[in-house]
Symmetry: C2
Subunit: 355 residues, 2 copies
């Protein structure tokens, strides 16, 4: 039996480490899509400094492609697509559009991405493909072709619900087991792949953190600990988490009562910035919809009151609007709004008073 | 009878125009405190371009002082102190500290400033002085010694409550009438000074606008109209105004039901930035406490639920914290927080997962 054919889309900290892990195990045929860094990586490979995988000066996976289309033309069809990009459905291109050229009838799609509801457009686009959930704890990042990975590579894989496919559970479980077998190193100190039997709960649990910490720190452009010095734990984080947990409950997921306090103190003594804040500081669009937009849609559907989270979401959507305008992705034509005026308002409330 | 002696503190757009108005009427003796621009103003005066007062190339009030202390030493005691600075009780120096050197037993203090509760520390500091409220609609600003004033100078003066002084109403009303007489131009097309018989209502009404528009636009660094393009009127402004009006009600002030819609559409077709946003963009501390902090204290005292306004306040207090740290006004010593750690948390929620 030939080795499974794996395509990794998203050559960031998570994607490059997945490429390294699969390559070292040598139980699959790996192709990595590298867009902006293509020439540099073809020439020099990646330098990697990993606490558990070791040091590599010029790491290259077996195959590198400039695009998903090129990858498919040269190496397809694929048994697995591992998607490790950010997930921004309101950005210039959706995840579904990105991977479409390489999705074949037998391809399982593993989403190692944040958020809730990310499987919905994916299943809609590829109703007959197995869609898997990956939650990674690897904590790695890449700068100019150099990858830093300080933490143990611990990956949780489970299946999203999909009612389109007959015998879905068996087929999906077999795919999970197959990916575990090609990703798990023989030495359990190198990495760990575990089956996640309750994907929705795992993702809601993580969202108790992400929906509150990533969002707030991004709005104020301040790391988690500086927010906490300002008593954000009690003034904002805890009541916002309460709202998020009520949404999870309305979606049929219970959250351990200890989860809030665990997250509120998980970074005590550290001064660190969540990924959304890092994106803001790099002037990159961030993952608002999958982190907060989708939970709020569920809240609305189920009648859950969320004044705080709705406020955070509205503020972030306006910050994204500003960033998109700065990037030239949208244009505001003031003439379109000129027909409106307020000259009929009483003088006491005339615009001049609006200082 | 000699002319009343008037000190103006705050040589911004409002303060310089007040100096011009009083000087043109020639019914008072005007001293203006000019700090950073002193040398320039002493040499060149102000250039002023005003729609109703006219154009002036080298306007100087009768007296200019470098500081409040110097003003008092040379020109005191004063019948009136007109305070037109920003009001930032949590800033490096309070308004009370600023004017203290020039407050004499007979001085009436006129606060032409935004916000609610600004009279409380003022009455505490000067319990035997008359404290007046000024709400101006002048809409003027100053850049490098040049003043632009596009709107009619309409000033509303009233008295704050003060139970310390016997016959307070008569004394305060006499002061209001006196200031009206020295400020009101003989030509009613030049300016207008009207008595404000309900200071608290006037200020709560204006706060329906300021507490919501100034705050939100500052948080997202986007002008009012771009926020409204993102449907902020319905998603955020209107529900936040509802909270503010409930606080006003709890403080005994009714707000006209039309006020919300009036403000929500007062800037239709314009693209303009409230003063707090202008301050943010200039990297200047802004007036959070008098605009939002004081209303929230009243809400807390009266048991009014304010999840949205509390969220806006907490976010802005953290943005102010960031600005103060950037300015060197506060320092974060990370070592102070090092004793805390979270190593006892389960690995699945280890910090590495906090992307």
């Amino acid at each position: 039996m030939s080795k499974p054919n794996v395509l990794i889309v998203g050559a960031g900290g998570v994607g490059t480490m997945a490429a390294l892990s699969l390559t070292l195990n040598n139980k699959s045929n790996v192709t990595l899509v590298v867009r902006s860094d293509y020439d540099h990586v073809m020439k020099h490979g990646y330098s990697i400094d990993s606490a558990h995988y070791g040091q590599y000066k010029h790491f290259k996976p077996a195959n590198i492609a400039r695009s998903v289309q090129e990858a498919n033309d040269k190496m397809g069809p694929f048994d697995f697509i591992v998607l490790t990009t950010k997930n921004i459905p309101d950005g210039p291109i959706t995840c579904e559009e990105v991977i479409k050229p390489a999705v074949s009838p037998g391809t399982a799609i593993l989403l190692i991405q944040n958020g809730i509801g990310i499987e919905v457009p994916m299943i809609e686009a590829f109703p007959q493909n197995v869609i898997l959930s990956g939650v990674t704890l690897i904590g790695s990042f890449i700068i100019n072709g150099h990858v830093e990975n300080s933490h143990f590579d611990s990956l949780y894989i489970g299946k999203f619900d999909n009612k389109n496919i007959a015998n879905y559970d068996e087929i999906a479980d077999a795919k999970i087991a197959e990916f575990q077998s090609i990703y798990q190193n023989e030495n359990p100190k190198i990495n760990s792949v575990q089956k996640d039997d309750d994907v929705r709960k795992t993702r809601w649990d993580k969202l108790v953190y992400n929906s509150v910490f990533n969002t707030t720190t991004t709005i104020v452009n301040l790391d988690v600990n500086r927010c906490q010095i300002n008593n954000a734990n009690e003034l904002l984080f805890r009541p916002a988490m309460d709202e998020l947990i009520l949404i999870a409950n309305s979606d049929g997921v219970e959250v351990d009562p200890k989860t809030k306090d665990k997250f509120l103190h998980i970074g005590d003594g550290l001064f660190y910035s969540p990924s959304m804040l890092v994106d803001l500081r790099k002037h990159q669009l961030f993952e608002l919809e999958v982190i907060l937009g989708n939970p709020l849609k569920i809240a609305k559907k189920n009648g859950v009151s969320t004044p705080i989270l709705q406020t955070l979401y509205t503020l972030l959507s306006m910050i994204l609007f500003r960033m998109k305008e700065e990037k030239g992705l949208i244009t505001v034509n003031k003439e379109d709004y000129k027909n409106k005026n307020s000259d009929d308002y009483p003088e006491i409330f005339h615009r001049s008073c609006l200082y």
